[in-house]
């Protein structure tokens, strides 16, 4: 790290005396600021630098905003999802943890190293370094907290637990593996690069050494065909377009995803609930299923993604359509038919995964890192219950991992991740 790397623009950000005093929270008289930028002044007081979104960075998703990134953000090609357990023993330590993470997340989302300190070559570098030379790659980082966090007596958060945050009920055919279930905190890092996504989680966890441990994690990927310069819906490992029917636009998002004032506990306003399911797809059995059966499983055509009997991906599903014999065109036990029956909506943001071979069977350990966002996990539960035993897709899938997390609202400039929660205390 050398002087030549200094971001000139950063130095040019002159600030007024009042801003400075406000930001540092120091009202000392006789303080003279030269031609200084913000960083120098703040660090002179031993404060963490105020780190801002760098709007000139390439392939950049903003950190600050009304909502957290990685939810309404356009789906990236890669995810690294991590569920952590906390080792901290007090509310204050937990708060410090999120405060400490905030500037690191912003720096990484700017495509920067997490540390600006000069390197002492007798200690390990602060940043693990594998993202060096890569830009932000549209990195988004989403933080959430799980039920188990509120149940930790020593943290004293019990009274703040949102009523909506509950363990999911056992669903028919669930075969959950403790090794892929739960967690006190989740970090969802998504980016258009696997290494950038992984780097983000790795560095956040490392910086929190002694305060968290990783309980489980899962990497995933998506690939987007481009037609006439436009990104198309990605296909899952069953080769069907996945993500066609999803809320879009602010109105939809407010209806389906973002907690509105009064809808959940107050600190969750503008936040949302994340459900993650690690679902194994039995590729071997799927691959010996006829095309017709495959299409009847989902209720859509494989190639176009169109509803059965229609031509285009975004044509209306109209599940009540019948053929001349009075049979439903979209089978009643198809995935989409049942999902629609539930009369609940969620926003799906899933990725495929492939993690080697299952030792006991020799089958691919591959499938879907199913991620959905909803203002109440009940929406997910309703749909999953509707899919229940009936869903024809069940023959080909097994749910192996699960988690529900309350994702904080977005972060205001100068604030930190989860402030709403800690301020409620």
């Amino acid at each position: 790290m050398s002087k030549t790397n200094v971001d000139e623009k950063f130095l040019d950000k002159k600030i007024t005396r009042r801003q400075m005093l406000k930001l540092t929270g120091v009202g000392v008289a006789g303080l003279a600021i030269g031609a200084s930028g913000l960083g120098g002044v703040l660090s002179a007081f031993g404060e963490e630098l105020f780190v801002d979104d760098d709007t000139t960075a390439t392939n950049k998703v903003n950190f600050y905003g009304k909502h957290q990134s990685g939810i309404a953000t356009a789906v990236q090609t890669n995810i690294y999802f991590a569920a952590l357990n906390v080792l901290v023993n007090s509310k204050q330590e937990l708060q410090e943890l999120f405060k400490m993470w905030t500037p690191l997340a912003i720096r990484m989302m700017n495509g920067e190293s997490i540390s600006m300190e000069k390197q002492n070559d007798l200690i390990p570098p602060k940043d693990t370094g594998e993202a060096q030379g890569l830009d932000a790659r549209n990195l988004s980082i989403t933080f959430g907290v799980g039920l188990s966090l509120f149940e930790k007596q020593e943290l004293g958060l019990a009274s703040l637990k949102p009523a909506e945050l509950k363990d999911l009920p056992h669903f028919p055919k669930d075969q959950l593996d403790e090794a892929y279930t739960g967690g006190d905190i989740c970090i969802q890092a998504c980016a258009d690069d696997p290494q950038v996504a992984f780097h983000a989680v790795r560095n956040l966890v490392r910086a929190a050494s002694g305060k968290v441990t990783i309980k489980w994690s899962q990497a995933g990927f998506n690939s987007f065909p481009v037609e006439k310069g436009k990104k198309q819906t990605p296909r899952n490992l069953f080769a069907f377009k996945d993500g066609t029917e999803n809320p879009s636009g602010e109105k939809d998002m407010n209806e389906v995803v973002w907690v509105q004032p009064g809808e959940s506990t107050s600190w969750m306003t503008s936040g949302t609930y994340l459900v993650v399911r690690r679902i194994q797809l039995h590729l071997e059995t799927w691959d010996r299923t006829s095309l017709k059966e495959q299409e009847k499983t989902f209720g859509r055509h494989r190639e176009s993604g169109a509803p059965l009997g229609k031509r285009n991906e975004f044509d209306g599903m109209e599940i009540e359509r019948k053929d001349e014999n009075g049979n439903y065109i979209v089978p009643e036990n198809s995935h989409v038919f049942l999902a629609k029956q539930a009369k609940a909506r969620i926003m799906r943001r899933s990725y495929s995964y492939s993690s080697g071979i299952i030792d006991s069977t020799g089958a691919y350990d591959a499938g879907l890192v199913f991620v959905s966002f909803q203002k109440d996990p009940e929406q997910f539960i309703k749909i999953q219950n509707a899919l229940g035993r009936l869903d024809k897709l069940n023959e080909y899938i097994t749910h192996r991992g699960s988690g529900v997390f309350a994702c904080f609202p977005g972060v205001k400039k100068g604030s930190y991740i989860g402030e709403a929660l800690f301020n409620t205390l």
Partner: protein, 291 residues
């Protein structure tokens, strides 16, 4: 990734403070602060002479004990006293494991004393070049005999004595100490925690404990220096050492012995592994004393 240097910003900023109640910080903002790496090993080594000496005394003492215990072990093997040999084995090795950062500086001696068959095989060598403690471990636990291991035992004692003699010449530096502490933990993380160090005797927890003690000794010697720079780090390290030691204590039997590695559950080893990793991160920060 762009890297912004905080120090460069401070200089360019040229912050000037007057009447500030925090004069320590104000001084740091002096525009003469250099952006260059400021580690100067010559001067720092001199400042840390007391610590270096303390560590030398420790290492020499450990290797003295090691030679004495090895001699007892060798006698038992040669006398055909299987039980006695088995009893001494894990304890004698602990002296070696505690001072491993030093022993390791002798690329030839270390493997002669401590190589596992797997290490040799990885280097393309065969069983015929295998000597030292683990070879005898194989005899004691796998073959249940001392017969045929007399020559190896003699060799082991000779090698231990040579090690002890040569240690006098090691140039102990603060860097060796700090890297050594980390290496000790790495040893634990990669071979002790997996039971790969003592595959026949399953006495891995003795080595585990000794490695931790070796690292803790280095920390204790440097503690005052670290405290001058970062008292929080001292507290953090003390806590983390305690966590590991408390966990290990659960597997200690009344008389300073440990249960067999084979008795640990997956959950036990995971807990131990995590505690060691949580210790490793702050331990890697000890280098701040050379800033």
């Amino acid at each position: 990734m762009k890297t912004k240097s905080l120090f460069a910003i401070l200089i360019a900023g040229g912050v000037l403070m007057t009447g500030c109640n925090n004069s320590e910080d104000a001084k740091q903002v002096d525009s003469t602060v250099s952006t260059e790496k400021t580690t100067n090993n010559e001067t720092t080594n001199a400042n840390l002479q007391k610590e270096i000496d303390a560590y030398k005394v420790f290492a020499l003492d450990q290797l003295d004990q090691f030679t004495i215990e090895t001699e007892k072990f060798v006698q038992a093997v040669k006398a055909g006293d299987l039980e006695k040999a088995k009893e001494i084995y894990p304890h004698a090795r602990m002296y070696f494991e505690r001072s491993e950062p030093i022993a390791e500086s002798f690329g030839d001696l270390d493997p002669r004393i401590d190589a596992r068959l797997a290490d040799l095989e990885a280097e393309g060598q065969g069983e015929e070049s295998w000597t030292g403690y683990h070879k005898i471990e194989y005899g004691l636990w796998e073959e249940n005999t001392t017969k045929g291991y007399e020559a190896i035992a003699d060799q082991l004692l000779a090698d231990s004595k040579e090690l002890r003699a040569r240690v006098e010449t090691v140039d102990v530096t603060p860097e060796l100490m700090m890297t050594g502490a980390i290496d000790l933990l790495n040893e634990v993380s990669t071979s002790k925690i997996t039971g790969e160090e003592e595959i026949y005797s399953h006495t891995d927890l003795y080595d585990f404990k000794a490695n931790i003690e070796g690292a803790e000794k280095i920390f204790t010697i440097l503690e005052e220096q670290i405290s001058n720079k970062d008292p929080e780090l001292v507290k953090n390290l003390s806590d983390k050492f305690k966590t590991v030691n408390d966990l290990l204590a659960k597997f200690e039997t009344n008389d300073g012995n440990f249960v067999s590695y084979s008795q640990l559950t997956k959950e036990d080893t995971k807990q131990l592994a995590i505690a060691v990793n949580q210790l490793g991160e702050p331990l890697s920060q000890m280098g701040i004393i050379l800033e």
